[in-house]
Symmetry: none
Subunit: 200 residues, 4 copies
C-alpha cells in the first residue's frame, strides 16, 4: 500500500467529473467524457458509483462540500456584529470568484433539478447546507448584538437569491464594473437590514 494516498480514488474522480461538467456543460457531459477526463476506464465509474444517477448524486454532494468549504473557517474567528455581517456574504462571494467553474456546475445542477426529481433532492440538500451555515452566522451575529429586521428564512432566501442572481451575472459576463457596483449595493443593503443594538 502506498504510504498515504492523499485523496481516495473516488474523490479524485468526483473532482475530475466536476471539472468535466464545467468543461462541457451538464447537457454534453457523458460518462465517457467524465471517464476520459479522470483518466479512468468508464467501467470504473460504474464500479465506484453504480450508475449515472449514483454518480450524479455523489457529484452533487461533492459540489456542496466544495461550495461551503472555507466558508465555515472564514467566519470562525469573527466576533463584532458588523464584522460578522460583512464577512458573511463576502466570504460566499469570494468562493464564487475563486471557483467559478464550480459554481457553473452548481448552476447546471440547479437548472437540471427543475425537471429531474432525483437531482432536486440533491440540490435542495445543497441549499439546506447553505441555509444552515447562514443561520449559524445570523445566530452568532445576534449573540453579538445584531438586530435583524427579518425572520431567518426570509434572510436566507434574500441572501441566496442575491448570491445566485449575482453569480449568474458573473458567469454570463465576467467581472464587469456594473457587477462590482451591484455587489457593493447589495452588501450595503444587507448591512442595513441589520442594525446593531449598540448603534441605537
Amino acid at each position: 500500500m502506498t504510504a498515504a494516498k492523499e485523496t481516495s480514488e473516488p474523490l479524485r474522480i468526483l473532482d475530475a467529473a466536476i471539472d468535466a461538467l464545467a468543461e462541457y456543460g451538464y447537457a454534453n457531459c457523458s460518462m465517457q467524457r467524465i471517464a476520459d477526463h479522470a483518466e479512468v476506464d468508464k467501467r470504473m465509474l460504474h464500479y465506484y458509483f453504480g450508475d449515472r444517477n449514483g454518480l450524479t448524486v455523489q457529484i452533487a454532494e461533492r459540489v456542496g462540500d466544495r461550495l461551503l468549504a472555507g466558508f465555515t473557517s472564514a467566519i470562525e474567528g469573527l466576533s463584532g456584529p458588523r464584522e460578522i455581517a460583512a464577512a458573511g456574504f463576502e466570504s460566499l462571494w469570494e468562493n464564487v470568484v475563486a471557483e467559478p467553474r464550480l459554481h457553473a456546475v452548481h448552476l447546471g445542477l440547479v437548472s437540471a433539478a427543475v425537471t429531474d426529481d432525483s437531482l432536486r433532492a440533491q440540490v435542495a440538500r445543497i441549499r439546506d447546507r447553505y441555509s444552515e451555515v447562514i443561520l449559524q452566522l445570523a445566530e452568532r451575529g445576534r449573540k453579538a448584538g445584531l438586530q435583524l429586521r427579518l425572520n431567518d428564512e426570509t434572510l436566507v432566501g434574500l441572501i441566496l437569491a442575491g448570491l445566485n442572481g449575482l453569480t449568474v451575472d458573473y458567469l454570463q459576463r465576467g467581472e464587469t464594473q456594473e457587477l462590482t457596483q451591484s455587489l457593493a449595493e447589495f452588501q450595503s443593503w444587507l448591512m442595513q437590514l441589520a442594525r446593531p443594538l449598540a448603534d441605537a
Copy 2:
C-alpha cells in the same frame, strides 16, 4: 381551408419545443422528443430549422419574445413616478408566476450558455432585450420626476440579478411564504433606490 391559421407552423413548433424543454430539461430534450411533443416528424425540424443549433437559436429567440411579451404593454399607460417604479418589477415577476415553465427553460438556456458559445450569444441577446426595456422604464421614470441613485447599467444589473435569484428560488421551491416576503423586501428596496423629486 381553415379560415385563418392563427400562428405559422414553425412558430407552433417552437412553442411546443419550449414546452418539451420545460418537460424534460435542456439536457434530456432530444429533437425526437421535441418532434413528438409538437406532433411533427423529426425531419420536419430539419426542414424548418436546419440543424439542432438552428432550432436552438430560434427557440432562444422565441423564449426572449415570450419573456418580454406583455411587459411593454403592462407599463404603457403608467404615468406617476412611483407607479412606474412599482409596476416595473411587478410586471416582470408576474410573468415568472404566469409562465414558470418558460422561465425554467430560460434558466436552462442560461446555464447551458456558460459552456456553449453559440448559445451564449443568444442568451446575451435576451439579456440585452431585458436591459433595453428596463432602461426605457427608467427613462420614463426620470421624465416623471424620479431620481435614481444608480447609473443605468448597475440598476439593470441589480434588477436582473434579483429577478434571476428569486426566480431560481421560485423554481426550486415554489411559492413559499419566505419568497413572498423576499419579494416584498426586494421591491421596497427598489423603491428606496428611487426618490421622487417631490420628497426632496
Copy 3:
C-alpha cells in the same frame, strides 16, 4: 422567351453535376449537393432526369461527349502517317491535362461501374466511343501507309490501358518529372508499333 439560351437547362445541370462529382467524389455526391452546385432545386433533378439512375446515365453520356470532344477535330486535318500516329495519343492526353476534373469523374464512373450493372453499360459505351475514334484513326493511318503490327482490338486495348494508367498517375500525383518521361516512353513505344512502309 429569351432569344437564344445557349445551352439547354438540362445540359447546364449535367455540367454542374460533373463539376460536383469532381468536387466531392462519386461516393459523396448526393443529389442535394448536385442541385446546390447547379443552383437548382433538387426536385428539378427528378423533373429532368427521373431518378438518381437516370441522372447518372445522362452524366455518363455527357462525360463521354466531353472526353472525346476536340479529339475528332484535332486529328481531322492530319495526313502523313507519322503525323497521325503522333497526334493521336497526344490529343487524348491533352484532354487529360486540360480537363483533369472530367477525367477524375470518368475514373469514378469506371470504378463504380465494376459493381454497378447499370453504370457498367454506360461506361462500356464510353469505352466503345474511344475505341471507335481510335480505330478511325488507325484506319486513316493505314490508308496513309502505316503498317501496324497489332490487330485493331489489341491496339485499342493497349492505348486505352496506357491512357488510363497514366491518367491515374496524373490524378494521384500531378505533373511529375517521371510522368513526363513515362509519357515520352509510352509514345515512342506506340510509334514503334507502327512502321510506315516508306521506312522499309
Copy 4:
C-alpha cells in the same frame, strides 16, 4: 477454447470489409453493410476502428498487404536477369487474376482518393509499397547483370501505369483475347527496356 484462432477478429473484419467493398462498391458500402458482411454488430466496428475514417485507413492498409502478399516470396529465389525481369510483372499480374475483387477495391480507393485527402495518403502509401518492391527487384536485376535504360522512378511509373491500365481493362471486360495479347505486348516491351550485359 479453440485451438488456435488463426487470425485476429479485427483482421477477420477487415477482410470481410474488403469483400463487402468489392460486393457493393466504395460508394454504396455503408458501415452497416460491412458489419452485416462480417457478421458483427455495427458498433463493434467503432469499437475496433474508432470511426469510419479509422476503418477505411485500416482497410487500405490491409489492401496494401494483400496486394503485395506473395509478390516478395514469388521473386525470392530467382537469379538470372531475364528471369527476374520476366517474373516481376508476371507475379504482379497473377495477383490481379487471383484476387480481382481485391484489385477492384483498390481501384475504388484510388478513385475515391482523388477527392478525399485522408484517403489520398493511404493510397499513396500503397503506391510507395509497390514502388519499393519494384525497385528492390530492379536492384537485384542490376546486380544480376541487367542494364536498364530508364531511371528508377520512371520505370516504376511505367510499370504501375501499365499494371493499373490493364487492371482496369480486366475489371471492365474480364479476360478477353485482346487483353491477353496486350499483356504479352506490354511484357515484351518491358523486357526490351532491359538489355542484359551478355547481349552486348
